[in-house]
């Protein structure tokens, strides 16, 4: 398993008491599979993603990324783990306004401490892979919403992550562009062998999932099969 959550519980302060965001959640995500976690707003999807991204330490339970348990790691070690093993596709593209599309990817290579020699060629090929060939020199304000989201996806893949975490990627897109983005994530997951978790409240894209999970009130329920597929978990 490349992402392994075991009995994860996360609570937040809420007045005099505490609000349970995740309640003994366990989730295994193998490489090369897309696990879609669906649920309404406030169900705990974003908390699940934050815990998996090592941005929040759970109250109890363990998180393991590519075989490495995150509990006990220092803040610097967690940052390094995110840098080398985890790719994050944000809900909003969150691109840096001063960078071109290619530079949004190149900065990832810089963050990983790698030379720029091959970074640009790799950035251009990744942009090509997400359908943005010829857009490398454009800055965020020169790109459409769908194009920015594709740059967001390509950026997350720049350092060859083992785990890809995708947060509501279609929330700012119309149905057609949203479907294209989900198709792209599915294809890249299978091609690149990432353990991908996509959280969404939009149930129209659930058919893309290899595995489906539902979150309600902080509790995770694995579905027997992706909605609408009528079969068991699909493996690529």
């Amino acid at each position: 398993m490349s992402l392994h959550l075991t009995d994860v519980t996360l609570t937040y302060p809420d007045g005099d008491g505490r609000l349970t965001a995740l309640d003994r959640v366990s989730l295994d995500v193998p490489r090369g599979t897309l696990t879609v976690v669906a649920g309404p707003s406030g169900s705990g999807k974003s908390s699940l993603l934050a815990v998996a991204a090592t941005l929040i330490t759970p109250d109890t339970g363990t998180v393991a990324v590519d075989g490495r348990t995150t509990s006990g790691l220092s803040r610097g070690e967690l940052t390094a783990l995110r840098r080398h093993k985890i790719g994050i596709v944000f809900q909003q593209p969150n691109l840096l306004p001063s960078l071109t599309a290619a530079e949004q990817l190149q900065v990832m290579a810089r963050i990983a401490g790698r030379t720029p020699r091959t970074a640009r060629a790799r950035a251009l090929e990744l942009l090509d892979a997400v359908g943005l060939a010829g857009q490398a020199a454009r800055r965020p304000h020169q790109l459409s919403g769908g194009q920015r989201q594709r740059v967001n996806i390509a950026r997350a893949l720049m350092n060859d992550p083992t785990v890809l975490l995708v947060d509501e990627p279609t929330s700012a897109l119309d149905h057609e562009r949203g479907a294209a983005v989900v198709d792209l994530i599915t294809r890249l997951t299978h091609q690149r062998g990432t353990a991908t978790v996509l959280v969404t409240h939009d149930r129209t894209h659930l058919t893309a999932a290899d595995r489906l999970a539902e979150v309600h009130d902080g509790r995770l329920h694995l579905a027997a099969s992706p909605e609408g597929t009528g079969g068991a978990d699909r493996q690529p």
């Binding site: 941005l55 944000f90 809900q91 909003q92 840096l96 810089r110 963050i111 990983a112 790799r122 690149r192």
Partner: protein, 378 residues
């Protein structure tokens, strides 16, 4: 299909100033405005430094250029401060110093401000009286009871050359030589014999024989200045420390240095304020970069590098402007001194204080929570 690439790690170099450099190019207007502010402050600091040094030179160069390591004043007593204007030393005191162990030379020096006139032109001068043959004055072998040595500025002001005559406090004297740029208390120096000086500025004092203003000393480590001071009734200080005994120098230099210090502080504060606002504005970007795995150390280096580039650019422009203006006015009546100390030093201090101001303001990068990048819309 995206190909597989092998990255080559280059430690410490690859991460530096990638985003910062692109921010500088992207937000040109904002950074140009800030760079202009830095350049103008640096220009002001540079001009003030040159003026401070120039005025200082006009005030004290005759003392700082003396071949003496210590100056002995008449002890004013009662805890009063030393003053070149008030000091009067006697021949007895001079003899005591001359005979003290560890004193290689002790030479009386008379100082007074008076008026010199030549061919219808007159100017205020400082008459420095020395013993004939003294090491204190240039060409002192040419100084007699009827001849004097002029500094270049004194000769220029009076319009005289070697062999011409001038009147000093009503006495006709011949110019034996013109040498040096010695100034004292903003007046050019005329080197005279002690006899002439005594007639020019009669001592007001104790009636203990011929006197001078101070005694210029050259001492070795064996000299016990405290003991000799007690015996002779003098107070001895290092030549550099004696500058505070020139009243106008202390107040003038203190005021100008205070202004310079305030300018440095203002510069650091302005830069700090700019980078505080800039850091707040880009805290969303910082959160994203942290979430993607950028270390806080690298982000701090990136931001500090940006500040250093901005500061260096602005300071270079400002310093260049100050040097150009200084070169333009240094030949005129404006006492502007253009040296590495008045150009490079203020620029360096400006950059260092600016970086310090920026460093304090970009500290907030450490407190940006990467979690805020999740679910945020910017």
């Amino acid at each position: 299909m995206v190909g597989s690439y092998r990255f080559h790690r280059r430690k410490g170099q690859a991460r530096a100033v990638f985003v910062a450099w692109r921010d500088l190019k992207f937000a040109k207007g904002r950074f140009a405005l800030m760079g202009s502010v830095i350049a103008l402050i640096t220009l002001l600091v540079g001009l003030l430094s040159g003026l401070t040094a120039g005025l200082g030179q006009q005030n004290v160069s005759a003392i700082t250029e003396l071949p003496a390591d210590k100056i002995a004043f008449q002890d004013p007593g009662g805890g009063q401060d030393l003053s070149y204007a008030d000091s009067t030393v006697t021949e007895r005191q001079w003899r005591q110093w001359a005979g003290a162990p560890g004193v290689e030379s002790a030479e009386p020096l008379g100082i007074t401000t008076t008026k010199a006139t030549a061919a219808g032109r007159s100017t205020g001068v400082s008459a420095f009286g020395v013993e004939p043959g003294s090491r204190l004055a240039p060409h002192s072998d040419k100084i007699t009871g009827s001849t004097v040595v002029l500094s270049t500025a004194a000769a220029d002001d009076l319009g005289v050359r070697v062999g011409d005559s001038l009147a000093l406090a009503g006495r006709r004297l011949e110019v034996a030589a013109v040498e040096g740029e010695a100034h004292f208390s903003h007046t050019p120096v005329i080197w005279t014999s002690l006899d002439i000086w005594r007639k020019t500025a009669p001592p007001t004092g104790y009636g203990q024989g011929p006197s001078a203003t101070v005694i210029a000393l050259n001492t070795t480590s064996r000299a016990d200045t405290a003991a000799v001071d007690r015996q002779a009734g003098t107070r001895t200080v290092a030549t550099g420390d004696s500058l505070s005994a020139i009243g106008s120098y202390t107040s003038e230099n203190g005021s100008l240095q205070l202004m310079r210090g305030f300018l440095f502080a203002i510069s650091a504060l302005v830069i700090g304020a700019f980078f505080t606002v800039w850091t707040v504005q880009r805290s969303g970007d910082v959160a994203v970069l942290k979430a993607l795995g950028a270390s806080t150390t690298d982000l701090l280096k990136d931001a500090l590098g940006q500040a250093a580039v901005l500061l260096t650019g602005g300071t270079l422009i400002g310093t260049g402007g100050a040097a150009a203006l200084g070169a333009l006015v240094s030949g005129s009546a404006v006492p502007f001194l253009l040296t590495p100390a008045t150009v490079v030093l203020p620029a360096t201090v400006n950059i260092l204080l600016g970086v310090l101001g920026a460093a304090l303001s970009i500290r907030r990068i450490t407190s940006v929570d990467p979690l805020s990048a999740l679910g945020s819309a910017r």
